[in-house]
């Protein structure tokens, strides 16, 4: 179903060439781009604080400062595995939906939600046991601000996934129309990637 779109300004030089009706509607679908821009601007939040952390680090003679302990790298690694695992399950959930395999979609989404919640549990455990405090040192300031901001994002993501799950049980999403799910999955991957950076920044580097 392709047509020449003279009507779209083709005859006057730079035209749109060949465009299907779907493409024309697609071109008018603004949500995906809008959501990408949202993620972009959100990433600036993290970027700014990551640079702040690096700046504080460069201003300190030793890092972490004397008397402050690095958080336990094992715990961080376990959390990383939980979160990456949830990224994989989120990916498969999306695929299953596109293949119209609804049961698979539901189970993978539930797995994602559980893994995400476990991550939050791990982080709560870490906050309870770590020897640094938010107000104690520049390391603490950077660590708690960034991981807190990230944890908040994970929390929002878990809620978002639960909402999409309930919605899809109500039949909101179909294999063809599932923008809300695409957005949730993208967001989840975004939060995953941030954790890679934070893990490196606080547990290893």
């Amino acid at each position: 179903m392709t047509v020449h779109t003279e009507a779209l300004g083709h005859e006057h030089g730079h035209g749109h060439g060949i465009m299907t009706q779907e493409e024309y509607i697609e071109q008018r679908d603004t949500r995906f781009l809008g959501f990408l821009l949202f993620l972009f601007t959100d990433s600036i939040f993290f970027t700014a604080y990551i640079f702040a952390a690096l700046y504080l680090r460069s201003a300190a003679p030793v890092w972490p400062p004397v008397g402050v302990e690095r958080p336990d790298v094992n715990l961080g690694a376990v959390n990383a595995i939980l979160l990456f695992g949830s990224g994989i399950t989120a990916h498969y959930a999306m695929h299953r939906l596109k293949e119209s395999r609804i049961a698979g979609y539901i189970w993978f989404t539930i797995a994602t939600i559980i893994l995400g919640s476990l991550f939050l549990g791990g982080q709560a455990y870490e906050y309870a046991h770590i020897h640094a405090t938010w107000s104690g040192s520049s390391f603490g300031a950077a660590f708690f601000t960034l991981t807190g901001l990230h944890g908040f994002h994970v929390f929002v993501g878990v809620i978002y996934l639960i909402v999409t799950l309930l919605q899809s049980l109500g039949g909101t999403y179909t294999p063809e129309r599932h923008f809300g799910l695409t957005a949730a999955t993208l967001y989840w991957h975004f939060v995953d990637v941030i954790w890679v950076v934070l893990f490196f920044l606080f547990y290893i580097y």
């Binding site: 179903m1 047509v3 020449h4 779109t5 003279e6 009507a7 779209l8 300004g9 006057h12 030089g13 730079h14 035209g15 749109h16 465009m19 299907t20 009706q21 024309y24 071109q27 008018r28 679908d29 603004t30 781009l33 809008g34 821009l37 949202f38 972009f40 601007t41 959100d42 600036i44 939040f45 970027t47 700014a48 604080y49 640079f51 702040a52 700046y55 504080l56 201003a59 300190a60 400062p65 938010w134 107000s135 104690g136 040192s137 520049s138 390391f139 603490g140 300031a141 708690f144 601000t145």
Partner: protein, 553 residues
């Protein structure tokens, strides 16, 4: 499916939202970009006035070296409110929220922005932010200037909490507006309107949106860190616990230098629309203007430390920042020359809007030149935090942004209201504003060079004469704005009907009635060329190519 199907699809495109019926949905919680533009115009206009009142209070205090009109504490609050209100609550929402919302979707032939509901939400972050900021007056106002550097800002009590919350809130609206505008420009242009056929104001709005998406979030992080420092005692800025105050300056200026371009680039767009309309010539160097806007935006992220030359960064940091800052003069100069070349040899029609643009060209150029002076490290060591700096920012922000905005008001007023303003009153307004603007801010260069610091309630009696002169000029400058209000009210009551295209302009917003109907364009127009081809037929599909481009005014 045939060509006809697409054709039918395009022409009968479903309305993106139904026309509102109730008063509240029409004027208060409206999702129509035009109404939201007017809402932004009213609130940000009021904020500019309020900010002006604080400025006049500063000038009253400075009429005498040891005046008792304000206490030093109140004086600090006055300049803090002046700057804060002007930048975030006045000028930025004016050039993006008001002008961007009203004009940009019309110029790309769209029926609304990409996300009308989000647009309404963006606006409604604005009035609460104003209330938060103003309520701080009752609890202990912020008083460390619009830049709120720690540690001073953290020692000043609860005001900083109100200040960060208010600016954060209005910043959310600004970011969402930027997201909305960028999506709109990318996705909603009329068929055939390629990027290089977009009106220059659309270019400006899109580039501003990119700046805002990057920078405003960085500002939010800076505000967040101040808020956390005050409320949870987080030691970002406490050297005894490993923090450093210079970090805040980096975070703040990484936003606030791009922010000065958020303030001026839309005005570049306004100017680029007004000049060809009244010169009745194709704009000189369309692509140069568009691409220089992009390069200014890129450069503006690489120059922030020119605000920190006296913060002890060391020569290997300041030197590149100095060179990059001076480099901005190149794309800025390209614009100035393109505009001048458009004017050159034209049969210029000196309407009020055009006069304000000429005022813009002269004063903004002076501000740009003092900017280059300040970008030179050795000069800045002397002039930093003196009245010379104050003179610079007012030549670029008042002489640049505000002059351009007023020009834009005179230009688009007939489109928004459907009525003409009085040109003779407008010309009086221009000349009084232009003269008293220069009388107010030109001498500030001199007191600055003589060494008078900014942000101090008292000064050396040696500077009294000049300061008195400045203050009197400032009162008259404020007075000159009465003419604008008189003109506006007169126009709303008695102004002649404007017709669709009183200036004989060629961009799409002038191809539809004034004020535009609810859906702007009943049929989506097609676009065949840039709008600036004066002397050629209009580059739009019927019925949009049949509007007269002979000026009726």
């Amino acid at each position: 499916m045939s060509t006809d199907t697409i054709e039918i699809l395009r022409r009968t495109e479903a309305p993106i939202h139904p026309a509102p019926e109730s008063f509240v949905r029409k004027y208060i919680f409206s999702i129509d970009h035009k109404v939201i533009g007017v809402q932004y115009f009213i609130v940000s206009g009021l904020m500019i006035l309020l900010s002006g009142l604080f400025a006049e209070a500063i000038r009253v205090q400075l009429t005498a070296p040891h005046n008792t009109f304000l206490t030093p504490q109140q004086f600090d609050e006055a300049f803090t409110f002046h700057g804060t209100l002007m930048v975030w609550f006045g000028a930025i929402p004016m050039v993006t929220g008001a002008f961007g919302n009203f004009v940009m979707p019309l110029q790309i032939g769209a029926r609304d922005v990409a996300f009308p509901w989000l647009n309404m939400f963006s606006f409604w972050t604005f009035p609460p932010a104003v209330l938060i900021l103003l309520s701080s007056l009752a609890f202990g106002a912020p008083n460390s200037g619009w830049t709120e550097y720690p540690p001073v800002s953290l020692q000043a009590g609860v005001g900083i909490v109100f200040w960060t919350t208010a600016v954060f809130t209005v910043g959310i609206g600004a970011t969402l507006t930027a997201l909305n505008f960028l999506t709109t420009v990318i996705k909603m242009r009329a068929p055939g309107m390629t990027f290089t056929r977009m009106p220059l104001f659309v270019w400006a709005s899109a580039v501003t949106a990119v700046l805002s998406l990057v920078a405003t979030t960085a500002l939010a992080s800076a505000l967040g860190s101040l808020f956390l420092s005050h409320v949870f005692n987080v030691p970002f800025y406490d050297p005894s616990r490993g923090g450093t105050v210079v970090l805040f300056q980096h975070m703040f200026w990484f936003y606030s230098h791009p922010a000065v371009y958020i303030l001026i680039i839309p005005v570049f767009g306004i100017v680029s629309e007004i000049i060809p309309t009244f010169a009745r010539k194709p704009i000189f160097g369309y692509k140069l203007i568009a691409f220089s806007t992009v390069s200014i935006a890129l450069l503006s992220f690489m120059v922030w430390a020119h605000h920190m030359f006296t913060s002890g960064l060391g020569p290997w940091v300041t030197l590149p920042f100095m060179i990059l800052s001076m480099l901005i003069a190149v794309p800025t100069g390209i614009k100035i020359f393109s505009w001048t070349a458009t004017l050159f040899g034209s049969n210029l029609r000196l309407t009020t809007a055009m006069l304000f643009v000429l005022g813009f060209l002269s004063t903004f150029t002076i501000g740009g030149i003092t900017g280059i002076m300040l970008a030179s490290v050795p000069v800045d060591w002397h002039e930093h935090a003196t009245y010379f700096l104050v003179a610079h920012i007012h030549y670029v922000l008042f002489g640049g942004t505000l002059m351009g905005v007023i020009g834009g008001v005179y230009y688009w007023w007939p489109k928004v209201t459907g009525r003409l303003m009085s040109e003779s009153l407008g010309k009086w307004h221009f000349w009084l504003t232009f003269i008293f603007f220069n009388a107010t801010f030109l001498p500030m260069h001199f007191v600055g060079l003589l060494g008078m610091p900014r942000r101090v309630a008292y000064y050396d009696p040696a500077f009294q004469g000049l300061n008195l002169f400045i203050s009197i000029s400032a009162f008259l400058l404020a007075g000159s704005f009465l003419l604008l209000f008189v003109n506006a009210f007169w126009s709303l009551k008695k102004g002649a009907a404007a017709g669709p295209n009183p200036w004989g302009a060629r961009t799409l917003e002038w191809m539809i009635p004034s004020p535009p109907p609810y859906y702007n364009f009943k049929e989506t127009p097609e676009v065949y060329a840039t709008p600036y081809g004066y002397g050629e037929p209009l580059p739009y599909s019927a019925p949009y190519n049949s509007v007269s481009t002979t000026p009726t005014y």
